[in-house]
Amino acid sequence: MKQETDLRKQKILRLAEETRKKLGMRYTPIEIVKTIHDKEKDRLYIIVGDRPDKTALIGPGGLVAAKLKENLGVKTLTVVSKLDLVVKRRMIKEHIKLLSKTDQPNVEPLKKLCRLELFYPPRRVPQPEKLGQIFVHHCPNNLASEKLAKTLGYKTTGVISPETELNQDGSIYTRKPPITCGECFTSVVCSVKKVGGNLLLANTRNPVFSVEDLLVVNLAKLLWLTREDLHEILGREPPPCWARRASLGMGVGTHLFVRHIIEDVSLGLLEPNQATREIYGLTRCGQACKKA
């Protein structure tokens, strides 16, 4: 097995070097830590030392990675930085400790999910069980969490803030008069408390915290999921940040959204190109709002 991995590593290095040379790029050393082949999904994970190794292996516009994928004959190729995995694992371990401190009876499946995520890649999800009720804040950024909760076997109940409305396409919500993102959270908490709920999934800054008896969990942050991971779980591109702004209207401060994007990048949950696209969308949306 080890021999097979070593051979694959050497092949990847050789192919990457050849492709980079053909593209007129200079030789650069690439640190490949290991390769994992997820046979079920025919997905090859290449774990590299750090981000510069990842950049070198993906190449400009993903050209090197595309060539590698073609030559290695795999359906999907994912390059992961070992350093990102080290940080992810450390943060998940911290989150498991936080979950252990709570006395909520139905957090055990979440802990189980966290423990399995420690072994990513590849991603494993526990077998669905018959679990209790969980409330989910309906928000574009919470769609993946809702899907994960359903996969675990929770009976999910969507909660919308009374001030928000469902758009016709069913994906985003409108608020009249405009509020800043996060403001609706207070009314969502009140609604859940009224019906006696004790577990709420929401898109909050902290991964785990309590509001009196109610435990609020941001599942995406709990599992340290990046935008790519959310894409994989949802099966489609998660709605961008500016969609939220568009949905919330003109009164919402662009500064706040820029800060959200910056925070996600600094945590390593959003890649620079995705963040730039979000900022671009945000400013376009701002201009459209001004014109309107």
């Binding site: 650069t28 050393p29 690439i30 640190e31 030392g49 750090d50 981000r51 510069p52 190794d53 070198a56 070992k82 350093l83 080290v86 940080v87 450390r90 943060m91 911290e94 820029v258 800060r259 910056i262 925070e263 990048v265 600094s266 390593g268 890649e271 620079p272 190109n273 963040a275 730039t276 900022i279 671009y280 400013t283």
Partner: protein, 265 residues
């Protein structure tokens, strides 16, 4: 462990990668002039950094080696390159600061001449060439992002100077090419080291080393002109800021300031 602990974890991982790369190079260039450069100049810097991370000493540097090698440090007068120069100086590498006068003038936060006098570092100033003037005209006409091409020109110029003076090591202030990419042999006996990347230094540490407390502006004069003239180039700059943020080289507050500076250009 909070995010601060994670920060330390990231730095240690990067230092381990850099150390591994240096040892691999040492293995390849055993008993050669490059091997000596690595042993006398690069390893002491890495050892200092590892020790200071453990002791949480901040910017104090205690290694005085006196390497006996010709070390150049490319300095733009920015925080990163100035910090690299100070680190090389305090590590006993007796560096020579080398700066390039660019046609679009500088807007550096650090007074390089004053700093070199203070530390007793010789300063060499190179003039710009025809290629820089061509770039200056071309970039304004065609409206592409100038940083990549300008950096290539600069590196080419400095390599040529380093070869001419028989330098053993040339240090740059790049923060992003960490680990495996922080050091390389560039023909002849010259070793290229991205000092902040090799030592996993971030901008806050670089600021502490230089003692600069003012407001940092993003980019040079040319870049600011290009941002105004060709507004689509702002997105490339924003992505560059995000790259630095993602790699942990700058903090969120600094990134926000840079992004608003670029957007309001």
């Amino acid at each position: 462990m909070g995010l601060q602990g994670v920060d330390k974890l990231v730095k240690k991982h990067r230092l381990a990668l850099a150390t591994k790369t240096v040892h691999n190079l040492l293995e390849t260039h055993k008993e050669t002039r490059i091997g000596e450069t690595l042993e006398n100049c690069v390893i002491p810097m890495l050892e200092w950094r590892l020790a200071s991370l453990d002791k949480e000493q901040g910017d104090t540097i205690g290694v005085e080696t006196g390497c006996g090698k010709k070390v150049l440090v490319a300095c733009s007068g920015g925080v990163d390159s100035t910090a690299s120069l100070i680190v090389a100086c305090k590590a006993g590498l007796n560096p020579v600061a080398i700066t390039l006068k660019l046609p679009w003038g500088g807007n550096s936060p650090v007074n390089l001449e004053k700093l070199c006098k203070e530390f007793g570092i010789p300063l060499e100033t190179l003039g710009y060439t025809e290629k820089h003037l061509e770039l200056f005209e071309d970039v304004q006409q065609r409206g592409y992002h100038p940083c990549g091409r300008c950096h290539s020109l600069l590196v080419e110029e400095l390599y040529s100077y380093a070869h001419n003076v028989g330098a053993d090591l040339i240090g740059f202030g790049n923060m992003l090419p960490t680990g495996t990419h922080s050091i390389r042999v560039v023909g002849g006996n010259l070793v290229h080291v991205n000092i902040p990347a090799l030592l996993a230094l971030d901008k806050c540490e670089a600021l502490a080393i230089t003692g600069f407390t003012g407001r940092l502006d993003y980019g040079c004069n040319l870049l600011r002109v290009i941002h105004q003239k060709h507004r689509r180039t702002r997105w490339v700059s924003i992505q560059r800021v995000f790259r630095e943020l993602r790699a942990g080289c700058i903090d969120a507050k600094m990134a926000e300031q840079f992004i608003w500076d670029i957007l309001s250009a």
